[in-house]
Subunit: 410 residues, 2 copies
């Protein structure tokens, strides 16, 4: 059976940048290998969620795996929690959280507690908290981040964020987002939890120590993105019959893959797979090729083009795209593998945000229709045979290329 | 903040015309300025309502402003009434009406009473009519037209037209379009109203005078397009956060703009803004540019390409398109403004009707992706990066270009 590798380059697409002669980073970067994949394959433009819709990475990835976010997405929390290895039950409400610094008046000075390098001491100190019969379970994430699971009866994920995403203001009061007793109760216990945590963290020895070192104390927790794992989420294997693995450094992407039942592949620290601009992308691509002996479908996530664009660093983005291109060489050398290369959304360097502009998509494999493209870019892929598709169309197209899709009608 | 001007050229698009060498009026017309906007921008084809759907101007404009007509449109009446300055309550049923001429047998001789130049005397003579507790409020529109509001309890807009849109027949009996008591009652009072009005107008002095002058009397009222303003219509400002103004001569377009809370811009008579082929389009475009100092979004409606095509006057349409092009020069000279140029539908000169063919769309502004187009036309815009979109996608795309759209997911 033909094996498939799907490479999602986060935030790869862009808008024309004046300093780059009104070209996008992808147009400016020298990408002979990406171009070769496009020359050998079929291309098009993909609207990750829908035309004119600005996608978050979570909703976009669900769509690209064929799970309509309108049906399956409720919030980012569950995927972040799964991604850092927490166990999630179907009734749990899950949130992503930061430790942060409040001043004497309770206003936020720093949303990341001086970019503290770990939340382990905070989580250890707080232990498991129970309020009104509801358990609050925490686990450290990367640096200032942590996962927060709210477990109990009568909960709802339809509650607002405590994190106002700005400084100089009080944390937001959590509010019910609909008119149910469940949402009101959940908002209430989350507010009590926030108050309890802030009280407990005030005079801890590790915060005293941070203050004595001139560092900002981690004296509260801000949380957001409440969500639940959908009850009806079919696994990737159930949906497509494909045995799948995921290569991704970021907790969100691992979390989504885990939610879909993909096997998460870990690298030893010395492999240099970091999710940052210095990441060893070649190791990821080569590992994916190696895994085709064991899996039907391998998802590879490459992060840094997005982060660089969100910093407005278009030259860094060009350089990183050329680094991606070097890694893609291994895929050019394996024409027997079905390869799809795309992005989960556009990240515009000029605006430093995700935008709704569609992303280029190329699919290369034996038997795939080809077109007259000479390069892989936003401008070129428009001319491809795939035309404009939505994110949820990608997997049905791949499965059909493999000859595995079910027939509509008879 | 970047300001936006949306120019909707009514009925601009067409089908190939034999006498024009199988080209469309837009292909034949010399349009260096429209072409420049297309060269500098991103283009595509837009299906105003949906693929294969032949749009009325009302439904098309709602869609282009991002209001799905399936959700928000019930009939043209409310927009026509608003557009001539009538006050509409949310329970009112509103219709557009003509004064017309019936012969002795009650058959329609002329649907416009000899294109009478005003309905003021008719409206003044009839005053406010009340039948079975229902009020009928009228206001003169342009020439033979008037607005008709039906106000009272237990009404429905689901009633058929009295205007059969042809001569030599009796006016149609108004019928309920569903099986509710409200629709039956509304049909009944509208029929009673029609009978009462016809009786009253029979021997008026102004009709005697018209007859003595050899003119057709205005001895009845024909009405159609019953509708209601949707209760749930969010304003343009609520929907997009944009402070908006509308430059349009026709009551329908003013009415739609008013329903969405846009400010209607009026010109003094000497400005020559008429909505006809002689209209001073340049004054409208230049006014729109001037208004960018005060508003975020300006909608400019240009009418006559549609009227000329409905008369089958393809040479007149070519000439009028060249006149539009001259006015567009001012927009070429303002690259800092986000500009979108399109049509609300195709009007085919050969058929003299609206058709479902998609319309060319070009968006030009700082940061917008560009493509390889060399002209603005039905044939060229197909090659653009926007691909094929629906009318309701236009505003989300513009708002996203401005960097103002909300994120789906996180």
């Amino acid at each position: 059976m033909t094996k498939t590798i799907l490479v999602i380059c986060d935030g790869l697409a862009d808008r024309p940048i004046r300093e780059l002669g009104n070209k996008t980073p992808l147009e400016v970067a020298k990408t002979p290998n990406l171009d070769q994949i496009a020359i050998d394959g079929i291309s098009g433009m993909m609207h990750p969620v829908d035309v004119g819709v600005r996608p978050g990475s979570d909703a976009a990835h669900l769509a690209l795996f064929g799970y309509d976010p309108k049906e399956y997405y409720s919030g980012r929390g569950p995927f972040e929690c799964l991604g850092i290895g927490m166990d999630l039950k179907s009734d749990d409400v899950a949130l992503r959280a930061n430790v942060a610094t409040l001043d004497e008046q309770g206003e936020i000075i720093d949303r990341r507690a001086g970019r503290i390098d770990s939340t382990q001491s905070v989580v250890d100190y707080l232990g498991e908290i129970e309020i009104d019969g509801v358990k609050f379970i925490m686990k450290p994430g990367l640096s200032h981040r942590l996962g927060l699971i709210v477990r109990g009866n009568g909960l709802s994920h339809l509650v607002s964020n405590r994190d106002p995403k700005k400084v100089g203001v009080l944390p937001s009061e959590v509010k019910a987002l609909d008119d149910t007793a469940q949402a009101r109760f959940t908002a209430q216990v989350l507010n009590k939890f926030a108050q309890a945590v802030t009280g407990k963290l005030k005079d801890t020895s590790f915060n005293q120590e941070r203050i004595s070192q001139g560092l900002l104390p981690a004296n509260t927790i801000l949380f957001r993105g409440a969500g639940r794992l959908p009850n009806n989420l079919p696994s990737f294997k159930e949906k497509y019959g494909l045995h799948s693995a995921a290569i991704a450094a970021g907790p969100l992407y691992r979390g989504i893959a885990k939610a879909l039942g993909m096997n998460i592949i870990f690298f030893p620290p010395q492999a240099g797979v970091t999710g940052k601009p210095d990441s060893n992308i070649k190791a990821k691509i080569d590992k994916a090729i190696e895994l085709t002996s064991e899996y039907d479908f391998i998802f590879v996530h490459i992060k840094a083009a997005d982060s660089l664009a969100e910093d407005g660093n278009f030259l860094g983005k060009v350089e990183f795209i050329e680094k991606i291109d070097q890694a893609i060489k291994s895929l050019v050398d394996h024409p027997e593998i079905l390869v799809a290369i795309t992005a989960d959304h556009t990240t515009a360097c000029e605006l430093k945000i995700h935008t709704a502009d569609p992303v280029p998509l190329t699919i290369r494999g034996l038997g795939v229709r080809t077109d007259d493209l000479q390069a892989y870019s936003e401008r070129e892929c428009v001319k491809g045979q795939l035309g404009h598709i939505r994110g949820i169309h990608l997997m049905p197209i791949l499965v059909d290329i493999l000859g595995l899709s079910t027939m509509y009608g008879a």
